[in-house]
Structure formats: C-alpha cells, structure tokens
Amino acid sequence: MTKLQEITSRRELFVNLTLRELRGKYKRSALGWLWSLLNRLTTMLLFSFVFRYFLRVDPPVGDPSGLHFFAFFLMCGLLPFNFLSQSLTGGMASLIGNANLVKKTYFPREILVAANTASWLVSFLIELSLLAVALLFVGNVAFVWLPAILMLIVIQTMFVGGLALMLSAAAVYFRDLEHLVGIVMQAWFYTAPIVYPISYVTNQVKKDSIWWTIYNLNPLTRFVEAYRDFFYNLRWPPADQLAYIVVVSVITLIAGYLVFGRLEGRMAEEL
C-alpha cells in the first residue's frame, strides 16, 4: 500500500481528529464560536477606525458592484490571511502538541496536520458565509459566484496545507521555528494588499520595476485580490492570475508532502 493510499484510507480518522480540534477549541466556553467571531468583529472595527478614519485609507469603488465600504474591503483580505496564518501556527503545534500520539501510536502523521488545517478551514468557511450574508445588506450578491468561490477556497487550502506540512515537520526539528514564522507572518501581512488597496503600491513603484514583479509574485497578494474580485467587485479575477495561484498551490502541496515524507523518518525520536 503506498503512502498516499494509506492516507486516503484513513478518512474516518481525519474526520475524527478534525472534530477533536474543533471541539477542543470551543468546548467549555459559554459563548463557544461567538468568541472567535467577536474577535474578528473587534479586529474589523479597530482596523476600520485606524486605517479608514485616522490614516485615511480610501478603498477602491467596487467594479462593477459600486461598493465603497472599507470594512468589507478589509474583511475580503483579512479572512483569507487569518486562515493562512492560523493554519501555519496551528500546524506547527499540531505535531509537537500531539507528541504523545506520534510517539506511541502509528498512523500517517500527515493526518494530524491536515486535521488542524481542516479545523481552521471550517472556521474560515463560517466567517466567509457571514461575510457573504452581511454583503447582501449592501447589495452585493456574492452567492452567485459560489462554485467559483469554492474552487478558490480549495486552491488556497492546497497552498495552506502544503506550507503547513513543511513547517510542521520542520518545527519538530527546530523548536524556535514558530518565533521566526511569527515574524514572517507579520511581514507577510503588510506586504500583501490587505489593509490598503493595491493601487497605493502602483502609485509608489513603477509597473516595470523589479519591486512590482516581486510584489505580484507573492501568492497571498493574488489570493487576496481574487477573493476581493468575487466578494467585493463581483467579477472574475484575471485568468492568468488564477492560473498562477493554481500552479503555485499545486507545487506547494506536492513540495509539502515530499518534505514531510523526508523529515518524517526521525520524528518520533525527535519529539
């Protein structure tokens, strides 16, 4: 039985571990899910005040939706970023936190990381649904794009999962990796157009400069722009950009799987 077959044959374990993550996160708090939503709402309000009213960030007018609303503009970028960031942080803890399982039982270890990513995906889906519902009140019917949006989510999940696999395996060997990743995530947040429109960058750097190319190669930039096209602008993202993130995500997932397989050999000893 090949490794891949073995992983797919343990779907039930994957579901159970995902449920365990979800229950573990929200059990024993009276408000449960509400806490995480409250957290998102607070971030939204704070960012809106600081960036919209103090720093005077002007979100673009949705084309063709005509929407001009910073909070919605922000959330279209913030939610995918949070999914990425939490999955990577959680992924790095998923093997170390389950050291007991890894050292005392056998099953494909990829499932632990996958279950962690899946649990964050569930939160992400709920948040996106609430965003879509809220958008209805300002006249943006994002639901018609549902199949395309789901595709985009699948692609991002591949990207996130691949990175989570790499980082989780590396974190077993380098215990301070989480600090490094914390710093990188902060930089990643501000180097993608999440709290500001991408036009602010083109105002500063020339379109043919190397900096602009680098900025655009950032997969997170492309993801944020794609989500924004669907939810905020109500249009298809440019085909070449979609193709770019599909390729990057597939490569990341395969690379993550291979790296994990290589580092897996001594995992039980190192934990």
Binding site: R23, N100, T105, F174, R175, D176, A268
Partner: protein
Amino acid sequence: MSGPPIEVNNVSKRFRLYHERNQSVKAMVMRGGRARYDEFWALDDVSFEVSQGTTFALVGENGSGKSTMLKCLARILRPDKGSLEVRGKMSALLELGAGFHPELSGRENVFLNGSILGLSKKQLESRFDEIVEFAGLERFIDMPVKNYSSGMYVRLGFSVAINVDPEVLLVDEVLAVGDEQFQRKCLERVAELRESGKTIVVVTHSLATVRNLCDEAAWLEHGVVRKVGPAGEVADAYLGEAHVDREVDEKSHGTRWGTGDVRLTGVELVDARGQVTENVHTGDAVSFRLHYEAARPIPRPVFGLGVYTAEGVQVTGPNTRQADVWVDKIEGAGTVDLRVDPLLLLPGSYIISAAVTDETISHTFDHRHRAFHFDVQPGTPHETFGGVISFNGRWAVDGRG
C-alpha cells in the same frame, strides 16, 4: 497472505544524541551549520521471524533495544537499515490511553482512540458496550476523561486497544497497570487472544512472563541479538549471563523513608563459604547480609527483609522481632545476616526491601522499599513448570496398582 506474520531482516536503527538539549534555528545560524551529535546504534543487524500463532518475547536489560525493536514493528520508528514486515492487522499496546483528549468525554474518546487504532465507526458502534463494560466505566462514560482517575484512564485505554481484534498484537509491559483485578482481566484477555491463534510480541524484563506466557523469545543486548529460540532456553541463557553485574537496579531504586538514625547501606548475598556472590542457584545455601550504619547508639533494633517477585508479589517477609533475635544495642557500622539453607526460590528476578525499626516496629529508622535486586539461576531442585518456589518435596509413586 504469504510468509510469517512478522519478519525482521538485518534491521539497524541509529539514534542521535545531540549536544544541545533542543535544536533551534538560532543555534543553527550561530553555528553556521548542522547540529553536532553523536550516533549510536540502538539496534544492530537484528533478524528474527515470528510464526503464526506464536507468543514471542523480546527480553533484555534497560537500553538493550527491545522497546526500540517493538516501536519499529509498530511503525513508529523507521529503521535505518534492513527491512521488516508485519502482515495482518496490527495493534500496539505501547501506552494506554495515548491520544485521549482530556476535555472530551469517555464516549467521544473511545471513538477517537478507536479510529486512531484503525477501527471504523461501525465496528466501534458494535463493540462500544463491550469496551465500556470491560473497562467497568458504564457510569462514567459521558464524563470528560480529565475527571477520570489514572486507573480509569488506563482501563479505558486498554479496553479500546484490546478490542481492535488484531491479528498481530504488540505489547510493551503496559499490562503491569491498574489494580490487581484488572491486571488479571488483561492477562486473561491476552491469553484468549493467544489461544485463538493470534501472534503476540511482548517486551518484558520479567523472566516469569517469558517462561509462563511465551513460546519463543529473542534476547537483545546493546542492540544485538544474543539468542533467539524457545522461550525457556532464551530465559536460561539470559539469566546465566546478563544480570550478574547488577547488584542494585537503578531503575527500581524504590522509595526510601525513615528517620535516618540507622541507615541501611546495602544488601548482599553471601555463599556457603562466606564469599559475597551475585551468582545464586536454586538449592544453594546463602545468607542475605544487611549493612547498616547507626548514627547514635540504638537499643534493641529490629531488622526485616521483604522478598518480591519482579511482578511485585511478595514471597516472604521475615524479621528479627518475630524470630525473637535481639541485640542490646547497635552503634556504628555493622552487618546482619539471614541464613537460608537451602534457598528454594525458583529461577527468576527478585526484588528486596529492607528495613530497620525500633523494638516496637512502630518507629522506622530506614526503610528501603524494593531497593535491591537479585537473580536466582537454575539449580537443584530443577523445576521448569512455573511458580516461584520449590516445595523441595519427595515424590512417592505407588506402582503396585
């Protein structure tokens, strides 16, 4: 399915001993390269086969590699060289309740743990009542397991693991857990599996387990196979060589309590010629010698010994008070001997507790609980059908009909 259920061919496993406690990116950058480490081979070219329906023991000292071997079989560790194959559904009892989530209820954990061990939801549903009943936790199954006692925790863990219904079962001495009644239940269950033709590999340092429970065994020493073969032969060979340099087993260096006015500094075995020995046989004349040091003059002390099997069953517990042996006082260092002739313990590992108290036994100066260790090797009478002691009896068969 072709071939034996377990086949191990020239397996070697290397461990790294790092110079730093934990590796880190910081350390790597500052050193400008890879971490420095020493290597050692925990398993070196190990080969054996376990045939269908055999109960196979891996014996050896601590650090001999027997647990590493078991973890390789369980696929937790990956060998660096060689190949091994386990054919058929396998369940490993390495740690009971590994993977229980404290916040989840017993019920939820049964399903989670079961699916880690490879059971489907359907199989778990049909076995659920049996699992809970075996663990004796019917009333507590909907309580979060963080409120369980450690005994309850382990019982539930064992119950799930044993109900996986494996073809190959790997056991790492976890059976020595829980209360006595549950231990018996566990052993019965393992015996049932054994009788139903399952293949079992057990890691142990109890030679009694090897002799009584196993068909075949492999003796490992520093990662090398010293002997593979029928359980009795391997146990004899192991006992004959491996244990002799172990007067005090650090691992079972048990608890110690008392005022310290008298300290017991050691226990040794003395043979018939008065020589200290570590080599005793069934039927030998030996003395157990206690060394003490009294910090101040102590009137009418009582010395006592407790002898236990490796499984913790007490064999005997003599003391000087009940034997009505008294000295007026002790002061400074000295020894006390308990002469035994003949020693009727059968071959195996034994543990000694030693104590010194005041005249009334109510005031303990020093109690060293299960602090010493000795082995008995085959002698006369020669008996190999289990048990702890020989009656040294004489048979009389009336053959006249």
